[in-house]
């Protein structure tokens, strides 16, 4: 579901735009960057924010 929401937000962006996604560790953090790469998006970085939250930057 997290990737569904990410995909919908990505669809609203133009080529080259960067989407910032805050993800919980575990399944979302495993899946979202992997699926984004598989679908041809650039994953610019994954950084720890606090606790179990991570920030992932995805370029369309």
């Amino acid at each position: 579901m997290t990737f569904v929401k990410t995909k919908i937000e990505l669809s609203k962006l133009s080529e080259g735009d960067v989407l910032e996604v805050l993800l919980a560790e575990g399944e979302p953090l495993d899946n979202v960057p992997r699926n984004a790469k598989e679908q041809g998006y650039n994953v610019l970085g994954v950084e720890h924010v606090e606790g179990t939250t991570y920030r992932v930057l995805i370029q369309k």
């Binding site: 579901m1 990737f3 569904v4 929401k5 990410t6 995909k7 919908i8 669809s11 699926n35 598989e38 679908q39």
Partner: protein, 159 residues
């Protein structure tokens, strides 16, 4: 992996929880690049109705009463713990509280992601439903043979 992967779902059930399963699978698969087809038949057709509440949708007095009793997406009962209609409200609240997408959000996501929605021709005849009774996103009205053609080569689920 470059070949399009495909998931086809026969949505027979009109219950809130089972439709949530249908649309969770459909949106999840569509988001990771699957071609997704959902064939709505019988009770499942409730999910496609333009009028999401209860309305006298149908061809004759009998199917109109069925239409009123079945209703649309917003009045879909749960298969267990329905509590005379309180169940879906409780589940919707729990889903929002836990930041899980509600059924309506999943349906909207399915439309955005280009999930193909099909209505079963035979069930429409039985229930007196017309194409105009459905949301405009319904791609086509089909029978079994066409659905088999569409689903060939992919995975198929019956919910």
């Amino acid at each position: 992996m470059s070949d399009t992967r495909k998931l086809s779902i026969i949505a027979f059930s009109g219950e809130f929880d089972k439709l949530t399963a249908v649309f969770t699978l459909a949106t999840g698969a569509a988001a990771v690049g699957y071609e997704v087809n959902i064939f709505f038949t019988f009770w499942g057709l409730d999910a496609l109705k333009r009028k999401t509440g209860r309305s006298l949708t149908g061809g004759n007095w009998l199917t109109k009463i069925f239409g009123l009793m079945m209703g649309g997406l917003s009045v879909a009962p749960t298969s267990r713990f329905n509590f005379l209609g309180a169940g879906p409200k409780i589940f919707r609240r729990l889903m929002r509280k836990n930041n899980v997408a509600t059924l309506e959000e999943l349906v909207d996501a399915a439309k955005v992601l280009g999930v193909n929605l099909y209505a079963c021709e035979m069930a429409m005849h039985v229930l007196g439903l017309k194409r105009e009774d459905f949301i405009p996103e319904v791609k086509d009205v089909l029978g079994v043979a066409s659905f088999l053609n569409l689903s060939e080569g992919g995975q198929t689920l019956f919910i």
